[in-house]
Symmetry: D2
Subunit: 345 residues, 4 copies
Amino acid sequence: MKVGIIGASGFTGVELIRILKNHPKVDLELLTSESFVGKKISELYPSVGLDLDMELEEFDSHDALRRCDILFLALPHGYSSELVAMAYADKKIIIDLGADFRLKKIEEYSSWYETDHKAPHLLDKAVYGLPEIHREEIKGAKIIANPGCYPTSAILALAPLLEKSLIDIKGLVIDSKSGVSGAGRRATPVTHFNSANENINPYGVIKHRHTPEIEQELSLLAGEEVSITFTPHLIPINRGMLSTCYASLLEDLEEEELRKIYEDFYKDEAFVKILPKGIWPHTKWVLGSNNCLLNFEVDKRNKRIVIASVIDNLTKGASGQAVQNMNIVLGIEETTGLASPAIYP
Amino acid sequence: MKVGIIGASGFTGVELIRILKNHPKVDLELLTSESFVGKKISELYPSVGLDLDMELEEFDSHDALRRCDILFLALPHGYSSELVAMAYADKKIIIDLGADFRLKKIEEYSSWYETDHKAPHLLDKAVYGLPEIHREEIKGAKIIANPGCYPTSAILALAPLLEKSLIDIKGLVIDSKSGVSGAGRRATPVTHFNSANENINPYGVIKHRHTPEIEQELSLLAGEEVSITFTPHLIPINRGMLSTCYASLLEDLEEEELRKIYEDFYKDEAFVKILPKGIWPHTKWVLGSNNCLLNFEVDKRNKRIVIASVIDNLTKGASGQAVQNMNIVLGIEETTGLASPAIYP
Amino acid sequence: MKVGIIGASGFTGVELIRILKNHPKVDLELLTSESFVGKKISELYPSVGLDLDMELEEFDSHDALRRCDILFLALPHGYSSELVAMAYADKKIIIDLGADFRLKKIEEYSSWYETDHKAPHLLDKAVYGLPEIHREEIKGAKIIANPGCYPTSAILALAPLLEKSLIDIKGLVIDSKSGVSGAGRRATPVTHFNSANENINPYGVIKHRHTPEIEQELSLLAGEEVSITFTPHLIPINRGMLSTCYASLLEDLEEEELRKIYEDFYKDEAFVKILPKGIWPHTKWVLGSNNCLLNFEVDKRNKRIVIASVIDNLTKGASGQAVQNMNIVLGIEETTGLASPAIYP
Amino acid sequence: MKVGIIGASGFTGVELIRILKNHPKVDLELLTSESFVGKKISELYPSVGLDLDMELEEFDSHDALRRCDILFLALPHGYSSELVAMAYADKKIIIDLGADFRLKKIEEYSSWYETDHKAPHLLDKAVYGLPEIHREEIKGAKIIANPGCYPTSAILALAPLLEKSLIDIKGLVIDSKSGVSGAGRRATPVTHFNSANENINPYGVIKHRHTPEIEQELSLLAGEEVSITFTPHLIPINRGMLSTCYASLLEDLEEEELRKIYEDFYKDEAFVKILPKGIWPHTKWVLGSNNCLLNFEVDKRNKRIVIASVIDNLTKGASGQAVQNMNIVLGIEETTGLASPAIYP
């Protein structure tokens, strides 16, 4: 199978290349870029290996569809619709790392992204690519909307509780912390080393665009409308994301019962693991891996539960999950190309 | 006035020295240490200046009381009671940076610190040294219990709302993030560079000892029992602390009204400032200063408020606040020795 | 005395403000900026304190000279000549943090900076503002060329040896490491957090513009032409600079003799200190201070000496040294406003 | 083939596990530890994957030799001799990541490591495991002395020049910078986050134990005694090492000629690459990979050459190189298990 990466010069692009370069079932065929056409990818990112002799090409949809069986789209929102429509007509597999096909309700898209959707008729063809929740649908999908990083970490943390209706769907608090790579490769005052280093700050409080995405999936799990208060923070690490989630328990559940519920929910999952009681997840335990680590504690005094989840925002939070989705669609072992342990320290 | 620092070799000790070395109204007279007796402070911390020609001495309470008018105690909990009792009898001023005199209820101390209090009769002589809340009591105090770092950041964030009974006292969530210096100078697996760097993790969830301290002060402000869910996190910065606080609003208050309430509450404070709407506090904006910066946003969809506060955990969160308390007791300008802007970047 | 900072929005600008805000002998009168005219400095840099109620103004040379007695220039090279000429005619004091007046030989300026000098007639009026070497000349100067950060660290490391002709002037190697703030506040691929963090790299090898500046001053000290091999490196810290210097000893000198030579050379200096034998300088020991710490070791096997020096690149390497120069010109205590110890940790 | 790691709980141990867990030709059979016997490796290092169900065992040489075909030794110097002797008698393959078998001259070992060697008769059986220099000898070796991290980076940087006698063997300067993981997992004042973060310092100047190892190999290449001045520095990154090397050129060689010499020397090497002219190596370009990137510049004014090399100190500088050596001994593709690109950013 031939693979193309549309928008290969960003951080999710180079992470896809890292994973796919040695993937035994696919070949990298096409890398496109807007700003670096003609440049070798190994010049832009020597990390991929000086032996990777591929140039970044200008994007041409016909050419891309002709040469590739699978397209990974790593584009800003609003840019993927036309290509997705063509690829869908062409029966190619699209894995869109952008936001355009994640929200099922077109009005939510317009309202949070402040633009009209350009291919609304395809929204119901797209599957939300969180395998632990939607694996069966992903198997037959042609358009996979790869989840955002914050949604991946938050949904995996809360899914077992909502699916069993164990928590109050009002008053959910999600306090997330992300490494700077989540802000992308563009040099801005926010991504300046001297701004981000030795610092932490909240941003996009109440307003972050991952909010409706998280609410959509949590509502699906709960079977009713879930509304969250979501606060992302920027922390001075390259990669890694932690979500600390707060919910009110509807019943007096013992820690052991809850632990069993979590264990059962994820028992067949290769990438999601519950840590032993008392061991809180560290983002660096998943660096460069596709893993998600979880743990929780019951706050009996307040009848509340605190859940923490960690992922690598560029791997399980983006490119690793995209390859996991590809593996599912191709019907091969889900961990293919994704089995390397995290790098430590 | 002659000043002694009991436990001068820790991070709060060296921060006290940094501030007091050039303080115009007091002289450093005594620095004690358990592990480094006989060593020059400038050998242990060349940062204080090679010209500071003071040796760390063994602690002797009689000697300390004879030589000093003011004693700063930077000791682990459980170690200060005897000295405080003697100093109180001797009419000296004690500013205790440890936890022994912060909790008013002796049973809370025993339960959270898992040890008996050794000077319970002095608890009601001690004043909780958060000047913005207790300035009048501090003025005449002899024993000042200097607040913990997490409590300082959380109480300053929530005080205006609780004092005006604007939020539900149930369901308060405080999600705090601290630089590694909060864990002290001892080399442990937790403070190892390779553990802490490029990492974030929660710790002490539900169980952290600053919980009852925060609840005591919030309850005082609210006039009823407040119970919180408190999660501290370790982040890879040297100094700095951010608390993100979540509360349910009891009424539909406009952002402007709330802003006025905050502005009014802190209008005469030199060290606490509300940032303009939309500008979220960054810890690095207070690095090395005694300042606390605040901001908030109303989550109308969930009738909730999110408040964020930042301090330098070693300055306003410890040694700077201790000097602020000293200035108040001495009746001098409260900002003396504390007027330097934050260092940036 | 009224002070103006021309180019106040960069990192050396905000460092000048940090130091001068509480300086007892001068008042901040004027802050100019090209990109942020009309913005409050406390909005751009909340670190300076929300109480600092000054706006960034457009630069106007007549207005600047009318309002200010002393001008600090923090401009890119090539931009200061006209203003310096006017100020000189007006008998104002100019402290230029840029490179335009550092090199005495006009052809070196043209060749290394690849542009013609716009005020060559003023070159011999300017004094190279390294107080430890040129204090007497600085006292009466009107134009002070404040040294670059690399030159400050390198010259202070090597001066005692060259002044006594103890080392071979051929084959000097200066291997320097700088924090990212040395690259300025502009957001570029180089200053992107994800490029600089968890990384070290050399840059500008052989070609860095501080080379002729170092050679000029070392040659003056040696009394003959010194030529160096200079390699700067970028390291992932906000502030701080280390220069490791390598030289061949002309005689078999004992470590104690050399130590005495260094001690003597700097014996009256407030800001330059030799560490005890075996204690190598750490950049963080000078963070936010105007100090330079030095040490060395003799490599007897190779008859060579290794000298290491640390400074804060924004303080002794730029703005602190500029204020030190101002204090000298004003005839006040040289440490005024600069006495604070380094912040640690 | 069954593999054992003796001393698996350190950083080189966990890095070996990361690489070997998915190695197609060997199975992890034994992990030993002194301090963590009975603990699961995935508890100590959750990064290896919660699915890795191996316990750390007490070391027993007979048991180790019975169960394993290949032993990786990650022990402090002085601890491996007995085991190596037994293994050698038993015809097992030993790859020693420690220092005991690197130096060929027993008196150099005694003098630099300040202890007697316990198995001097095996020194000439051991091969210095730098494949790019000693591949042929490694093929048939039973005892492989895996090089130190500093020597790997320095020797690879200088080998092409010394082998062709292009540089003066007097006056070589090697200025190296290492991430903190090089100091190991033990919590000490040096590895404390607050000491190492936002800091750089030289250490072990003139005296570092990697000096004789570098000199031995450079002398072998040169055919005469080479003596270096070597200064290691600690920098605030987890992994990564840069060596900046300075040498005097014996002839006026053009940059292109030198480039050809470097290219030729490494033309068949999978892991060593020369960057294009003007692109200086960044340590983060090799993070987690077994690669070494090089570049150089000629300083014509001083007839000198500056060469910079980067490696990941735990991969090419330790465990990756150890696996590369194992692959060579086993006669399998040298890149097996080591083909993953560096992780970026």
